[in-house]
Structure formats: structure tokens, C-alpha cells
Subunit: 101 residues, 2 copies
DNA sequence: TTCGAATATGAATATTTGTTCATATTGTAA
DNA sequence: TTACAATATGAACAAATATTCATATTCGAA
């Protein structure tokens, strides 16, 4: 079979796909997204639950916000984050379900 | 709401999940897995289609083989690789479908 | 057994990435 | 306004990662 005879992903498409998975390729982000998939959380709350520094959490949230996986809502002093991409959450849930082989 | 009141992922579970997505978090591996999801391919064939060096392809296949996402079959001089994890392929297909927003 | 083709592997390197630390910003209450 | 709490941001650093290059291995044919 010759190269041109089958469908392979165009480079930009492959990068788009990889970018989606890259967001889920870090344990910290997995934990954050899993938490946010259950309820809206403030930055400080996430940091407390996951035992991370406020700064580390904020950096990751910034990353997730830039690629539109999470959004936030201000309430006084605090920012409440929540998921903004049901499809990615769906991928996450499936992986969690199948994680134990 | 207090930390212990909601379900968050155990550290090892989060790492398992992240490990799955890490395999899909690189454009090269995405292209390789997408190709293999359609047909069994030799190393040289993959390298030709994806315009990569034989060595780079072999390294990535080694990575994918170690985590049991692909398997191979020897036929004379050549090794034919194919997918060995339908669940991961399912995740990949979904992401490809949804890649264009 | 020798040769050549296909594939694997190890070391080196450049790039990416996650965290920390220090500091800046934003909003609230006094 | 001042002071404080919550969050964001930039620089620096260490660790992880993908590729390249050179070389090793494996198999079939002669």
C-alpha cells in the first residue's frame, strides 16, 4: 500500500489533537479538572484540597483558562473556577473509568 | 464545603490518567497512532508516510510499546506495528472529531 | 558465513514544562 | 485612604521530553 493511499492526519490537525491531550497530560491538571468537574471552586480551595501552593494552582488555572477549558466568576475577593469544555471532561471521565486496566 | 467532603482523585489515580493522556500529547505519536488505527504498518512505512527519520519513529514506537498501546509482529526483516488498546484509540478518535471546535 | 536491509538503542542536545519565590494586582472593609 | 485577603504574574531553575547521530542488533539471501 502506498503512502498516498491512506488517510493520515494533517500536521495542524495532529497538533490540535495533541494540544487537547497535553492539557490532560499532567497529574496536577487532571486533579484540578476532576475537582472542577464536580463543583465550582475558588483558587484557594483548590490549593487546600490538592495540597499545592496558591501560585502553582494559579499558574495551572491560567494555562487551562487560556485554552478555554475552564472559566471563572468573580465573587468579591475571590474567583470561582469551573469547567468550560464538556467534551474534554468527557474524555477525562472515560480515562478515569478505564485507568485501572 | 470542606476538603474531605468531595471526591478528588487519589494521587496514583491522577498519575495513571495523566500517563494515558501523555501518550497522546505529542503530534508525532498522534499521527502514528492514527495511522495504526487504520492499518498495520511497518516502521519504514510509518517513517515514509509521516516524513520522519527511522530512528525517531522507532523511539516513539518503543515508547508506545512499553505502555502497551501498540504491539508488533515480525515478518521476515520487518516489524509490523498495530494498535493494542482500543480504548485509547477511542479517545483519539473522539478528539480528532472534536478538534475543529 | 558474509552482506545488506530493517529496526533498535544509547548518548547528546535543545526545547518544553511545572514549580517556587518574590512581587504585583484587585477587591473589601475599616 | 490604609490595611488586608485573594489571586495573578514574571523570572529562575530543575526535570522531562523529542529528535538527531552514530552504532548495534536481527533476519534473510546469497
Amino acid at each position: 500500500m502506498k503512502p498516498h493511499e491512506h488517510a493520515f492526519l494533517a500536521p495542524e490537525k495532529a497538533e490540535q489533537v495533541a494540544r487537547i491531550f497535553k492539557a490532560l497530560a499532567d497529574p496536577t491538571r487532571v486533579k484540578i479538572l476532576y475537582l472542577l468537574s464536580q463543583e465550582e471552586c475558588s483558587v484557594g480551595h483548590i490549593a487546600e484540597v490538592l495540597e499545592m501552593t496558591q501560585s502553582a494552582v494559579s499558574h495551572q488555572l491560567s494555562f487551562l483558562r487560556h485554552i478555554r477549558l475552564v472559566k471563572n466568576r468573580r465573587a468579591g475577593n475571590m474567583l470561582y473556577y469551573s469547567c468550560d469544555d464538556e467534551h474534554v471532561i468527557s474524555l477525562l471521565r472515560q480515562a478515569v473509568t478505564h485507568a485501572d486496566h
